[in-house]
């Protein structure tokens, strides 16, 4: 009996929360439980329902965050504006790499996600990815390493639905550093993929 009551209350609360949208505070149960004999029991039930709702909302918040992340491209574009320049700015945002590595870092994937959306919205747009390295490695090997970095970004784009004919790769090795310094800060900047519009960048639609 008690268990049933709790389920009813919980379900009710959940429904209310759902109606209010994610992240809403748990609503206190409606006073239709006035005929319950013990006020203390009602109070306890209400407390449990509130806890449950809190958990529920947390989960919803997480889902919401994931949804937001998936739509970050659209949101950020909307925030920045609708101009081609704004789209270009997102398109040429660099990604960075660890020393002597060519794998895409987890936190850099969202930068590539933005590019995926733009490229899919603009099928005539062609992108050139150029890999770069810091000064520490061997000169000639760095051409191959920079190429690997460019390939890694291209593979990410293609695996997310970009036509591979629209992405070309190149490598500067360590020949064109952004920062001419000789410290970790400079090196970290110089281990990157640069993105240039190779063709079709005159008028860009936002995704």
């Amino acid at each position: 009996m008690k268990r049933f009551e709790m389920l009813v209350l919980g379900g009710l609360t959940a429904a209310l929360v759902a109606a209010c949208g994610g992240g809403a505070k748990p609503t206190p149960p409606a006073p239709q439980a006035a005929n319950v004999d013990s006020a203390a029991q009602a109070e306890r039930a209400r407390q449990e329902a509130a806890d449950r709702a809190k958990e529920d909302s947390l989960r919803r918040a997480q889902e919401e965050a994931a949804r937001l992340a998936a739509q970050r491209t659209a949101d950020s574009l909307a925030a920045i504006g609708k101009s081609t320049d704004a789209v270009k700015a997102l398109l040429v945002t660099m990604i960075h790499f660890d020393f002597d590595k060519a794998n895409i870092r987890g936190e850099e994937a969202s930068i590539l996600d933005q590019k995926v959306a733009i490229l899919r919205a603009n099928p005539t747009l062609k992108l050139r990815i150029t890999g770069n390295c810091d000064e520490r490695g061997s000169d000639e090997y760095n051409l191959a390493l920079g190429n690997r970095r460019a390939i890694a970004a291209k593979q990410y784009l293609v695996s997310h639905g970009v036509d591979q004919a629209n992405v070309e790769t190149a490598s500067n090795g360590k020949e064109k550093p952004i920062d001419s310094g000789h410290n970790e800060e400079a090196w970290a900047k110089n281990r990157n993929d640069q993105f240039d519009i190779a063709a079709g960048g005159d008028a860009l639609k936002q995704p």
């Binding site: 061997s138 000169d139 051409l143 191959a144 390939i151 291209k154 070309e168 790769t169 190149a170 500067n172």
Partner: protein, 484 residues
Amino acid sequence: MTRACAVALGAVAVAVGAGLTPPPLAAQDTSAIDRGVRIGILYRPGVRPGMVVLSGNASTLDSVRTIIARDLDYSDRFELITLPGGDSIRVATAPPAPAPDARAATSAGGKATGGPAGHAGPAGHAGPAGSAAVGLNYPLYQALGADFAVAIATPSPDTTVVTVHDVAAGGVRREFRAHVPPLKDAGFRLAVHHFADRILEATLGVAGTAATRVLLVLDGKVYSVDQDGAAFTLVSASDHAALSPAWAPDGRRYAYMEFWQGHGRLIVQDLATGKRGAVATSGQALDFTPAFAPDGKTIAFSRATDEGTDIYTVNYKDNCCLQRLTVGRFSDNLSPVYGPDGRRIAFVSTRAGAPQIYAMAADGTDQQLFAPFDYGVTGSSYAPDWSPDGLSVAFHREVGGTYQVFVLDVRTRGVRQLTSLGRNEDPTWAPDSRHMAFVSDRAGFRQIWIVDVETGRIRALVPQSGARLPAWSPRLPETPASTP
């Protein structure tokens, strides 16, 4: 015990013999040397033969002399003897007057009357016959520790004569006569360097490296410099960044890579004319690290595409016949270099994870590890260069966060570390397979150094900071000074 006694007795016998021989001779008689018994300490600085380059008597001659003396010094095969100064050596000109009495007399007479101070070296005897052979005071040079002496003369403005004296034997070993272009002519230095190589040939019977050049990269351009550091010249185009120069085995052309809008194309350039031509390799790709095969028509190179980096060959004479030698879907293969017989190619591959040195047949078959390494322990290895004698492959390997030059013995597959001071990389062999140029920051900045692997003697090639990727030429042919 008995053996020791016998030795002791023998020593006594020798001592007695030596003690007994002199009595018939005068106390100051030094001719005992000729009798085969000599007691004393002979001081020889090092085991290399002594060489003295005698001073000349004209301004151009002095340049010739300076260049030849430096070349002989840089060969690291002689103890170069510095004379105590032009004036004090004038005493050396007193000739022992051998067979051609008349000529020696005129020569000595000319000197006595007209020889200005400081030009009194024996090389000053530029007689009408162009021979500087007469009148060399061999015992003096012998006393100075010289085994060989080189005299330079210019009997006529366009002819230079170099005489190689065998001081120990007391005679002329060899005489060379050649046309040397004027001082300002482009062919002047090369002609003089060839003299130095001929001197090495005449004295020690070995081929030198004086008439060679080193290509290098500085600020993204390819430069050429003589092996003695002179004649620093831009050779690549000024409007494109270039990398990875490499010489053809005949020394008449070289190749390098040029960046073209994110791609790389291979350029072959003629040494005499400077004429450049792009190697027509198909498509848009990043082609780099060219390497000439000894066959005179094939270039192996690395190509980076969106499949990775792999090694290809192409016929640059006919611009055809592109062939792929390696297929590394998830690994990179690069930096090919031919062995001197053209049958094997050493290269870098990341097939085991970190880059290491591998080798394959010239057609891409029989690929195998070349320089052994301990997986997960040995540092990454790069930039192989096969020595012209075929016996060694030099490369650089990561040691403790920096690079050091290593040499692989091709027969035994043994690897030894050559450098330890600073960061050292990108070795390139001289044609004598004993000198090597490489990049090092041992003096505080990145610079190209030359080491004699035999003696360990080291010198900076050029003072420029940031010079890198050296490529040492083969012996350059004695081409006409200028090709119109």
